[in-house]
Symmetry: C6
Subunit: 271 residues, 6 copies
């Protein structure tokens, strides 16, 4: 690993980030890694995709390079660019190139947000050639066996204009994520917030009611992350109604009617 | 703190900006700060969000880095960029990076106006990792305990094309702001303008009538700021009708009918 | 004042540009200046807004920095930028920054034409902080008491896509301008053109007829400026019908029917 | 005049380009020049606007700076820019700045095609201040008495999105151009092509028939320029039908039906 | 001619590219060249426009500068730009400037694809001034008598947004091209492919059937170029049905029904 | 070959990538190569176009330069650009230029995704001139006999805005690809995955059922590549239902109903 390896890489190698498996997702990830196949994760906001990837990277002992994709992310942000430093132009590898050179896991979060040139740069890496051509340096990198590409997106709010083309999708082994089942989610919330298990159970119970409102009034159901926020504030002594208002109502909607619907569910649970 | 700390930072540490609390907003802000959770403020124009954040920053003894977001604000404006200085390229931290390095509060005003790459740069800072990756310098900054991210927007005039995605919203503890209740607003206006309390009360009374017109004819109700302007001009000797015309009518609308409706309310109060 | 102060600044300090007051606009301008409040002028094309601001700047003895806003004006055009000069990068203040540093009046003409980042750069200058953050130089300028910000626009032809957001508008004391009343306009036209007062009266009389056609056929009524042009050409010996054709018909419309309507009014007056 | 004055400037001072006056356009141009008023020319393609401006510039003994406007023309293309030359950045005046410095006529052809920032840069030059602010160099140039600004456009095919704003239009004295009356046009065509006057008369006669088709089938009537082309080819020995096909049919339309309509008129004249 | 003259220029001067005249097109081209008039060629894909221009350039003994226009072609691509070379900025002429300086033929293929600033740069070159202003170098080049400008486009698939403005079109002498008449086309195909004349006749016969399908099912009729491809493959020993499939069916359409329609015509000819 | 030739080029010359011919595609490719005609491949995602080109390049003993086209690919990415290296600007050939200089095969994958200037740069290379003009270096390269241009696209999901213009298409010999016939596909899947032939046959059988759903519910049928993925995971010990879920269901659709339809077919085959 190069001397510019980031703090996060080192951290990854030492402690295994907590992750509560729900099904056979760990096995599938490992098989894809062993067979050198790229992996696509699909699932809603805040359900644990990023945590899962951190967990698996640590378990497999590989450095993790995470990139949050967005409209203005260019292929050069992934592969690298020439920078002027001390009167010299010096090539600086991007995170994808580093993962290929060093043999690590490159995780592109919300890949559908990226520009087209980003997804196309992935093509030669995701067929049997496993190549990364760096046109600017004239290099053609061959990915080592311990390189893996993982991408994710949320199928719940893709635009028509923003979706993966079949010619990109069909290059990945894929799996769907969802919020964890109640028991697992209770354990996650309790572990992360320090709130007692049975108080977390009430929150998880509430979450399933709120999630049932999705599609009608809510763009997205309440995430496990927000449940952790809520439990954290309650554990710190904040009254339940204030904590739920700040974490399970206000972040979900600006609409007064929707907010009242959410509050009713909350009062029905804790009132 | 670095030697380039701005005048405003120093000021913040010495005098506590005046702020009249309305509910439990100070407690929620402090809890979010203690628990290292990012905070989202929602509320109309000129109701005191910026002042509130200044107040809390001073109370917590942390420097404040405020960024007014807009269409052309890029991620680099927040994180920093290389500048050519004296034949050398030198990295200059942006306000977000400074807040992370120095442990301060970074406040992004009207965050929905920013480009997508800006909101995405916030993602790793707003999950449990609290990381700020600087791809250009190869650094991966871990936010210290006394770093806090606060963002705000006005839910009243979001466009369809400009709104926070659920995957961003659900990363924040959130609270709604509104204009202060009459008594508190009177005190604010009197204190800021130097006009006698009872004359301010008449203006606040008028404001509630004008705010009732919002939605029908007015895009946004009259702000506390404009009441302060009005009281300031009256305190300086300007006739009431001229002062209200210049501060409570002309800034609110260009439409002749709407202006006349506003004037009628004014004359009914002061005529 | 810096040694690069422009010729216009010096001129401003020596002669008071002629301006014929119509109401209490001078008093309101002075009060806003004394109370350090930003000012918004609204009014049609060529009615004297720019002249009024020049007049007030001279009266108050402050240098004036005028910026005509447009689609491609960026925040950097107002605040300044680094320029390469003699192998060195040197920071060059923009007009807004100069007005803040030197204590002058910065006038942004047709502010609704500017890009969003321009209006947002004005926000910290237009609340009680009166600050101008220069992110590129790391400075945070506090505006002195003799700095004033004045902006203007023409409410007559704003697009839906181009209007001031309430969060910007509500930061200004505002006033409406219109064409001067007949007597004042006669005096202005006579003084500027050198044409005899009673001949100017006939032109002003004609102008009020032509302005009545606005909205039906004309996008904008004939401006005082065009009346001055017309009177100037007549004073120079041009026949009345030719002069009015060139200044009160051709500049107003390309439509043959509208032009004939205008000509009829002209012939009814001078025929 | 600077040592970089162009060949065309010199030419202008020596020979008076041929121009056949149609009405009082020369007098109006001279009056506008004497009174320091900017001038707007309106008229169809190829009717002689550019030639007229060349003629007047020569008559008044002023250098002429012509700029053909287009979508990508920026304010800097008019005012000037810094260029890197021999390791130094050197300011290079644009044509508008040269005209202001040297006292010449700046002619912006098809001004409606230009970007908004171009028209706004003209504003301070077209009110009584007659100023050209060069923000990049920090200069504020005052236009000398022998500077004149002339702009033109074709009202026949303006788009809704491309038109002069009233706030720009009302800064100009304006006049409409049309194709010259038959006798004048015959003289022009004969003089330019060398074809005998009576053969030119037949072409001019044909042109008036073809121009009558405009609006129904033709976007624009046949220009005087194309008549000169046609006469030139006939004078060089080309058969009439071939010459008219190549100059009065093919350049006007791609539509087979329209072409046949044009051919019928031609055959009716020459058949 | 400068020492950077391209290989193609030299070639042009030595061998006359084969061209089979169809009508008086060579005479018209020569007349336009003699009279210094610009020329516009209109016609479908692959009918021989480019070959015709090469032929005429060689016949007239002038170097040819061909530019294929596209969306991103800028005026600087035609006129030239400053390039950094060995620490020096050096001006490098574009193909249009070279043609003007050296006295050659500049051919802009598919000119409607170019950006607006490209067509406007042609305006001063296409009126009687025949000037090319190079604003960046401050030069004003006068075109020599042996300079000629030729442009072309395909009227068959212009978009509404992409068409020559009348003010540009009316600057050119124009002519329409079409596929050559059968006998000429047979000779062309036989000469280029080496296939026997009577076998080529069958292909040309087939082409006229396929061209009749244009407009209904086909965007564009089969080009002479594709006939040459087809004959070349047949001459090389490929079975007729395979050769026609690969050259007269697949390149014309992706639609199964259209392909079958084409195949039926082919089988009816060769079956 | 230059000393910067990539690893892939060398590889190509040593081992012949496995390819299972389906019809006369190899003969057509060779004929096009011999006759110096450019080739267009059409076909669905993952059916083997890229593999076919690799195979033919190796068979013909020519280096292969593959470019995946996308929205932001510019002509300079193909032809080359000046790069600053060690204070010097040095020209670096792009892949197309290298293929022309060295005599190789340049393959542009998904060419319809490229910008217009990319397709236009191919025009002089795809007519009888076979030229590549490098405007920036002033070179005009003539392609050697062993240069060949191959492009591909997927006709199944072209947008209206993204398609090859006839003037580009008609420059290519073309052929359609489809998924291989069952027997060939079984052999490919078995060879690539190591799974027994008869188990592969069941998968290929399933694929034909799933492909029948295309158009109704699926944008694109399951690719041979995904069959290889599936067989690979099964060969590695993964249960059939899990492997098919991860490779033949999740990568094809996010729609619950479609996924269930796919699963039914799978269960009907393996249940």
């Amino acid at each position: 690993m190069s001397d510019t390896a980031t703090a996060s890489d080192s951290a990854v190698e030492q402690t295994l980030p907590y992750y509560e498996p729900v099904g056979s997702e760990c096995a599938l990830f490992e098989q894809a890694y062993q067979q050198r196949l790229p992996l696509l994760l699909k699932g809603p906001t805040g359900c644990g995709k990023t945590r899962f990837v951190s967990h698996m990277a640590a378990k497999l002992g590989r450095p993790l390079f995470t990139v949050s994709c967005h409209d203005d992310l260019t292929a050069a942000d992934l592969t690298g660019r020439y920078l002027l430093q001390g009167g010299e132009t010096r090539w600086v590898d991007g995170p994808l190139t580093r993962a290929v050179r060093e043999g690590g896991i490159c995780y592109l979060d919300e890949v559908v947000e990226a520009r087209k040139d980003v997804t196309v740069v992935l093509h030669p890496l995701t067929d049997d050639r496993r190549l990364l051509p760096l046109e600017r340096t004239g290099e053609l990198l061959e990915a080592p066996d311990d390189f893996m590409l993982v991408v994710s997106y949320n199928p719940g709010y893709q635009h028509i204009l923003k979706s993966l083309k079949p010619s990109t999708r069909q290059r990945f082994v894929a799996m769907s994520f969802d919020f964890p089942p109640p028991k697992a989610e209770c354990e996650i919330v309790a572990r992360e917030s320090g709130l007692a298990y049975d108080r977390c159970a009430a929150l998880v119970n509430l979450a399933s009611r709120l999630r049932a409102m999705k599609g009608q009034d809510l763009e997205e159901g309440v995430s496990t992350r927000l449940l952790v926020y809520c439990a954290t504030l309650i554990a710190a002594g904040m009254p339940i109604l204030e904590a739920t208002q700040a974490t399970l109502v206000e972040p979900l909607s600006d609409d007064q009617d929707v907010q009242e619907g959410l509050l009713e569910s909350i009062k029905a649970t804790f009132g």
